[in-house]
Symmetry: C2
Subunit: 249 residues, 2 copies
């Protein structure tokens, strides 16, 4: 019986009868915080083998062993969508990462723009947030959080096969632009490679805006008549993309 409430991402192989060794943090969480006992069920995923129901075989204070029982979900994959975002204040950056994973992205890239005004980005912390969000939202993968890169360098090395959607107040309404970008073929199961670019709280500079408008692989959308914070804009833009081109269709 699948009575498991807790989902954990692990780095080890998953399969029937496969043992999974827990690290100290995981053991503390399962046995110290959540008080699981031997025989209790836990859902595991590693990004390769789908989701598995596993049972506690050995519960220790500093470690523990689970044993794989049955696959509960096949391995899935997010749409081929990246989120490029200018880091903002700490809590809101964490929020953007969490929301992007729930909404379904394959990769997160912190991007430094001219008006980016933020402390150093700690990729390991953001990656841990991405992992927790994947555990919570039912995804069988954890999106990678890339090292931060300057916007001009990112664009200089960009693969033009990946369309960049970015938000611009002067753009046509969101869905209209996306429909046009989709070339009228919204039933196409493969929308191709995309990235959504979310600027910092101060917006893009004039030269960045000119650069973005000139991209052959750019697509602008409008996010309504009010000024959205960066974290709101990220969720709204991801919603527009997912419902028109992604796995919400």
């Amino acid at each position: 019986m699948n009575d498991a409430k807790i989902r954990l991402h692990v780095d080890q192989p998953l399969g029937p009868g496969q043992t999974v060794n827990l690290d100290r943090d995981q053991a503390h969480y399962l046995f110290g915080v959540m008080r699981l006992v031997e025989g209790a069920g836990v859902l595991l995923f590693n990004g390769r083998d789908g989701e598995w129901l596993a049972r506690v075989q050995d519960a220790g204070k500093r470690g523990g062993v689970l044993i794989g029982e049955a696959q509960t979900k096949p391995q899935g994959a997010p749409p081929n969508l990246w989120l490029l975002f200018a880091p903002v204040k700490k809590a809101r950056t964490d929020f953007i990462v969490e929301k992007a994973v729930e909404m379904g992205v394959a990769r997160l890239v912190p991007v430094t723009t001219e008006f980016t005004n933020s402390e150093r980005v700690r990729v390991d912390r953001l990656q841990a947030h991405a992992r927790e969000a994947a555990e919570q939202c039912g995804a069988t993968w954890v999106p990678e959080v890339a090292e931060p890169i300057r916007l001009d360098r990112l664009l200089a090395g960009w693969d033009s096969a990946r369309t960049i959607m970015y938000c611009d107040e002067a753009a046509p309404s969101g869905m209209a632009a996306l429909r046009a970008a989709d070339l009228g073929n919204s039933a196409d199961p493969a929308p191709g490679a995309w990235a959504i670019l979310i600027g910092p709280e101060g917006g893009f500079s004039n030269s960045e805006r000119t650069r973005l408008r000139g991209l052959d692989y750019g697509c602008t959308v409008s996010l309504g008549p009010r000024i959205l914070r960066a974290d709101t804009a990220a969720v709204a833009a991801l919603t527009l993309w997912q419902v028109q081109l992604g796995d919400w269709r």
Copy 2:
């Protein structure tokens, strides 16, 4: 010249030459924190008279006076959309309120459901968050935050002319349901009265779900294949509504 960067909601009338007295908190913010001096511009709105550029006439530690110069924006109004939300943990509830104002709602109603698991809702705190969000996002109104109400009582007294959109995993995809609800007439400038209902982290109970499904004035939408947190679901649902029926069209 409109050099004003700061927007403030005030309760007093706005007009040319009209004096506006600041309370202690506003004076502290403008003169203590933001260091405005006499003659500096501030944008004001009160929900009735549009947005006005005003100038500092008197800057004190415990108060101050601004004087209205020129209207910078006509009075606007949000779409006739309410957000009904089950309060979650403190930071996420604050977040839902902030996001709802940015996304454009007319009224926020905290709703207690069977699985709502949260501390007492402080309406005054949430109303202050709504005001700050309105100041930040450029709205000329502040949505009202209503007193919390139990879902069963709310539905018992509901005006059936206001459609309730709520999220259900078994529903058709978001846009399809909204298009159907809009009776194929998405060019209609007046979509009528709507409310979006966001459940608690644990979802609705079976009896609540049955009740919602039986509503004549209900409309279900799906928010994709992953489990969204309540705050993510609120922004995503508001995006779908705004782009299809609201002021993002």
